[in-house]
Structure formats: C-alpha cells, structure tokens
C-alpha cells in the first residue's frame, strides 16, 4: 500500500517540479484530462470491487465528478481550438494510474478498500498541489484558469471525503 502512495507522488511531484515553469495550455489540458481519467479508471474499479458500500459509492462519485470535469475541459479545449499535448507529466500520470489499477486488481476485500482509499487520499493531495503550484500559475487562457479554480474545491471535497473513509477503515478492527 505504501508503494502505491509513492508511485503517485513520483508520478506527479517529479515531473511537476521539472515542468513547474514551462507547461503551456495545451499541456495543461492534457494533464487535466489524464489526471481525471486516471481517477475515473480507479473509481470504476472501486465501484464494482470494493467491499464496503461507502467505498463503492465513493468510487462511483469519482467517476461522476471527474467525468464532469473532463467533459468541461474537453468542451473548453475544443472551443479554444487547443489540442491537448502529451508531456512528461501526463505520461507519468498515465503510467502511475495503470500501475495503481493493476496493483488494486490483485487485492480483495478490506485490503482493496484500504489500498484504494489510501491512494485516493494521496492522489487528490498531489493533484491539488499540482493545480496550485503548476497548473493555475501557468495557465495563460483566462477560461482555462477559471475552470481550474472552479473545480479545485471539488478535489478538496474528495480529499476530505477520502480521509473520512480512511479514518473509518483504519479504525474498524472488526470484520
């Protein structure tokens, strides 16, 4: 489980630092779409594989909310005629997401729930950090920046929600 967290940190933090001053709007669009897709993929898995009903619901919520962000991002990119541009951050996100999903698929029951929720906590924290330190400061288009600012509180809500689940899962010794 700890290694999953590290994978996330590595996927986001390292390229984020390296590209802190050089991402353009096309790259930001790609990072946003990939970051959301990664969480949609994990959410889909959790909505079917999680043991706890609350974790299942959280997984389904991640699918709904991050799909909504992606729709808005793609609509905006289309309107602005910006083609999302692959870059090291989006590539790392993609491979980190794939690693997470394959690691989760090997788990069941409580172990799955805990690993998924731990990952969600770490992932949302990293995404919020990336939004604050890299994406918002570098976004040059006002509408793109506004979309990032508008969606940030949802990521904070997800983080708090995941932390509450984490506390419940960690605290319960029965079952």
């Amino acid at each position: 489980m700890k290694h999953t967290v590290l994978i996330v940190a590595a996927a986001l933090a390292v390229p984020a630092a390296a590209y802190a001053q050089s991402v353009n709007d096309a790259q930001i669009a790609s990072i946003v779409v990939t970051a959301n897709q990664v969480d949609i993929d994990a959410g889909k898995l959790a909505s079917t594989m999680a043991k706890s009903a609350e974790v299942k619901k959280f997984g389904a919520l991640m699918v709904t909310d991050h799909t909504a962000v992606n729709k808005a991002a793609v609509d905006l990119a289309t309107k602005l005629k910006v083609t999302p541009e692959d870059n090291p951050t989006s590539q790392s996100l993609k491979s980190g997401g794939a690693d997470n999903v394959s690691s989760l698929k090997s788990l069941k029951g409580d172990a799955f729930d805990k690993a998924y929720v731990d990952h969600e906590v770490a992932y949302h924290q990293q995404v919020i950090d990336a939004v604050d330190k890299v994406l918002v400061p570098n976004a040059s288009n006002a509408e793109l920046k506004a979309l990032l600012v508008k969606t940030r509180p949802a990521f904070v809500a997800h983080l708090e929600h995941a932390k509450q689940l984490q506390a419940k899962l960690g605290g319960g010794k029965s079952e």
């Binding site: 919520l61 709904t64 909310d65 909504a68 962000v69 729709k71 808005a72 609509d75 600012v149 508008k150 969606t151 940030r152 509180p153 949802a154 904070v156 809500a157 997800h158 708090e160 929600h161 509450q164």
Partner: protein
Amino acid sequence: MSRPPRRTTGGWLILWASTLALAGGAGAAALHRADGVRTRAVPPVVHTVTIDATSYQPAQLVVHPGDTIVWQNKDLFPHTVTSKGAFDSDVLVNGKSWRLVARRKGTFDYACVFHPVMKGRLTIE
C-alpha cells in the same frame, strides 16, 4: 455549459408575483392566511442560494416564514440540498434549481449527500 437557471428564477419570481396578486392584492393579505404562518406585514421574499465551486453561496441564510428559497446548481457536478428529517432536494444536476417555501421556524443544517464537506445553514425566524 448551459445556463438555464436564470430563466428558472425569473419564472419563480413571476409565479410568486402572480400568487400575491391572486391572494387579494393588498400586502396585508399575508396576515390572514389560514395556516397562520405569517404574522408580520412584511411581504415574502425570494432568496437565491447559488451552488457553485462545490459550495453553497451564501452558506448561511436567515429567512422568515413564507419566504421562498431557490437553490440553483451552477456547478459542474450533481449536488443535493439535504437536511435530514426536514427537507431534501434530491439530485440537482448542472442547471437545475430547487425551491423551498419556509414554514416551520428553526435552524436547519444541510449538506450535499455526495459531498459531505459542503455545508449550509438555513435559519427560519
């Protein structure tokens, strides 16, 4: 992103205005309601709470019995306005509104069932 809520609010305002007119014209009509809810000569007010950026804006609202509160979801995500045991909007997707006419006095804390960190408070006094 579509933005139908404005129209919705306008609709409610018109509906409310026509209801008042039907009620007997004079503002004092509010004093004679059968349910005895209104005891003041102040006409009812329509308050709007915007749901955006995963929050209720304003998060705290004080109203009087007879007032109407309209919650408009301008956010990208589905939300609810849920006060357990008191009221529940059910799912409000982007662009949808929900209205509540204030009746029972009290303080009602509410939240979004999907995003429990979203909190609001309605005080009816």
